[in-house]
């Protein structure tokens, strides 16, 4: 199964805060059977956020967790008009929810590692920011991360 489908793209993600936004993104995983227990997963993500907020400079938020509730390594992409994600330079507009199974096979984790590296590339972020629809977002991720 691929890292992301059109179901995991939320182009008009609403706040008002990062916990609500994260819940909206995570619900797409439950609907597709990628997550078996929404509350458990959200709890795992919240624990990670409490250690240190995952907002990064440049308007990025990367909530993420390894969780027993996750069956398939997944990415959920959200675009917002701005939700505070704890970064010093302001609210986040691009949200990447990264979900990894607890035991996680090496191969899947390699793909997530590649995704993380791509997030550091401004042309990758720009392409996602400008993507007109969900299909384009999925294509970009597949082209740049999964099949690269």
């Amino acid at each position: 199964m691929s890292l992301i489908t059109e179901h995991q793209v939320v182009l008009d993600l609403q706040g008002p805060d990062r916990h609500t936004a994260t819940r909206t993104l995570a619900e797409t995983l439950v609907a597709d059977g990628r997550c078996t227990d929404l509350e458990l997963f959200l709890d795992d993500v919240r624990k990670r956020e409490e250690q240190m907020a995952t907002g990064l400079p440049g308007g990025i938020g990367i909530p993420h967790a390894r969780s027993a509730a996750i069956t398939t390594p997944s990415l959920v992409f959200g675009r917002t008009t701005g939700v505070d994600w704890g970064a010093a330079d302001g609210p986040a507009t691009l949200i990447f929810l990264i979900a990894a199974p607890d035991g996680g096979g090496q191969e899947h984790l390699q793909i997530l590692a590649k995704l993380a590296r791509k997030l550091m590339r401004s042309e990758f972020r720009q392409a996602l920011l400008e993507a007109p629809d969900a299909t384009t977002v999925v294509d970009i991720v597949n082209r740049e991360v999964v099949n690269a």
């Binding site: 990670r48 990264i98 996680g104 590692a113 993380a116 590296r117």
Partner: protein, 504 residues
Amino acid sequence: MKFVGVTSCPTGIAHTYMAAEGLEQAAKAAGHEIVVETQGSAGSDPISQDVINAADAVIFAHDLPVKDIHRFAGKPTVDVGVKKAISDGPALIAQAVAAAEAHHANPAAAAASAAAVPAGGLATKVDASASTGTQIRQWLMTGVSYMIPFVAAGGILIALGFMLAQVALGKNGAVDITAYDINLPKDLPHSIMHSFNPVSLTWWAALLFRVGATAFGFLVPALSGFIAYAIADRPGLVPGFVGGALANATGAGFLGGLVTGILSGLVARWISGWKVGKGVRGVMPVVVIPLLSTLIVGGLFVVVLGRPIKGISDGLTSWLNGLSGGSAIVLGLIVGAMMGFDLGGPVNKVAYFFGTTGLAAAGTALDAPQLKVMAAVMAAGMVAPLGMALATTLRPSLFTEPERENGKAAWLLGLSFISEGAIPFAAADPLRVISSSVVGSAITGAICMALGPTLRAPHGGIWVAPLMGNVFGFLIALAVGVAVMAGLVVVLKSNASAKVAAAA
């Protein structure tokens, strides 16, 4: 420049890799190279030790403890949280450049001076980009710089013990004091632990002598251990120290310690570089590397080198015994050269025991030839430390700061017939120092036999002068040898540094 980095974060699936990417981009943009080890959940490929050794500086961008951090010991380091590498990679690269430049600006001081220990760990050494010859010299200098305090502390305590003993026990004091020991059976009169008397000078002399002798026991292990440390960082310490102790036990002396130090370092570095499974990696530094490297070094040294050393000792002993009937001056020349050769090692010991065995044979005769041999042996054994002390006084610029300090202590050690005072110099620059020492000591031995001073004490140096016949002859022989040796060392070292200057 070349850098290495380690990144890690609590979950190990996002920040670790973003940080690695951030560092790689920043390094590339600034025209540097970097290899980053991502200690995340996708498994980490350890950076090879060769790449680490070649790096100018290390960047740790981590929220978890760096795994196997000893691999990076001694490198200039930038140490920050993982987010810093994501948000501001270029700043970290700039910091790493600054740290590397500060380190390069003063590598010699770091190699030579134990006082330059940074807060993070023990100082070495060693500029990985230097030529092989320079690196070997830096390894030896690291070992020497850590050994010098043992030489100074132990040697001076022993010398003070001799001096006090002369005061307390009369002219045989420096000989009698060696009968005392820390923990002898209770009914013997010389056990310091049982019978120490704080108002008796004798007991203080015995205490100083024995504590000093104990400190001296660390001399070869510390040399060997820190040579290995310079080569392999912390994994080298255990095989290095144990190897040095075995060099002591087999009578191989400091030359044996140089061998065990270098061997231990190379073996430990080799084992550290093994690619092992994740489960084993955790116990590599505390169990596997020390266990295997110590076994290999210890086994090789005792089994392979122990026997030849014993063979050489036996051969030299019978050769010396054969020479006894011949020319006294030739005999003096030979025992002198042997005393100056390895400063407490097997060759030196053969000559020394040849001298002391003669004492027993001489009985009470006042003018027995064996008493002249003993005088020659002791005078020759005093040449190396005194010669180096004189050389450091005449030409301080040819020596490092710790060597100059050691030179001051070497006066006292030399006068006390503690040849080990010269070991730091000989270990740092074996060829020049040992060849000078052999020539100087041989001349002293020969002159001694020609002038014929006698001695009935097996040790004590200048402090047993009251036991000598013809002290004047003894002093002349000693002075000539010391002057010759100091002159040779200065000439040889000046040539060497002139060559370096010409090449630079």
